[in-house]
């Protein structure tokens, strides 16, 4: 996986709940596939399409998954992001994401970029 978060789209289950920690404008809980895809679209809109994710590695056992990746992007005002992040996920029977907790390595850096 490398490139736009669109690479994540096929993994989002219909009833997935995605939680973003912190105090930025992106923080919160997104419930349902459509709300999560809207959230993905916002990452593109707010970064002029520059937001990308590059997979470092991922592990799963069919029930749980950890995805570790490098997020990069640039806001129109010049703020830049290059930050390791992780998704801690519970999978449904089809292997799609049922619950996702997004964890940045440095919450302050994440919040400063997305605020």
């Amino acid at each position: 996986m490398s490139g736009r978060p669109a690479d994540f789209i096929g993994r989002v289950g219909q009833h997935c709940v995605w939680t973003v920690a912190g105090e930025s404008g992106m923080a919160g809980t997104y419930a349902g596939r459509e709300a999560i895809l809207d959230f993905f679209r916002r990452t593109q809109e707010l970064t002029g399409g520059t937001y990308t994710v590059d997979l470092n590695w991922e592990l799963d056992d069919g029930d749980r998954q950890v995805t570790y990746y490098r997020a990069r992007g640039r806001r129109p005002d010049g703020r830049e992001l290059e930050l390791d992040q992780a998704l801690v996920c519970r999978l449904d029977a089809e292997g799609c994401w049922l619950e996702v907790r997004a964890l940045p390595y440095d919450q302050a850096v994440f919040d400063a970029f997305w605020s």
Binding site: A21, D61, R64, Q65, Y68, L103, P104, Y105
Partner: protein
């Protein structure tokens, strides 16, 4: 039942050794040049390089909390070159309490941890506790 991957078992041994405060066992699970990363800007944040500094850092979680700091493994995943663990971190320090989940992400070589990256699920609670 699927057998546990050796690197998931390594995570179990790591948390077991930490729970026993067994520094020698911990050191044996680290590559000589291991790097342990803690995000944020608390006094505990930073990059600890080499097994001695990493063991000292882990001891610091005990000394900074009057021995109350505990980390209990919740679940672990292992792959050929990596391991991940979700654990519950609890402790008391200067009148403050910690009780949060944290994530440990490890690169592993020859069943030894080469890099470890710790990420709290609740960064604010982590920062308040260790400040």
């Amino acid at each position: 039942m699927t057998a546990e991957h050796p690197n998931a078992a390594l995570m179990r041994r790591l948390f077991d050794a930490f729970g026993r405060r067994d520094g020698a066992a911990l050191a044996g699970m680290f590559d000589h040049d291991v790097v342990w990363r803690v995000g944020g800007d608390t006094p505990m944040s930073g990059e600890y390089r080499g097994w001695r500094d990493v063991v000292l850092f882990l001891r610091g979680t005990t000394s900074e909390t009057d021995g109350t700091y505990r980390s209990s493994l919740v679940w672990a995943l292992g792959g050929d070159d990596h391991a991940a663990a979700v654990y519950r971190a609890r402790g008391a320090r200067r009148g403050r309490e910690l009780d949060i989940d944290q994530l440990l992400l490890c690169d592993v070589r020859d069943e030894r941890i080469v890099t470890a990256t710790a990420i709290p699920f609740e960064a604010d609670a982590f920062a308040r506790f260790w400040a």
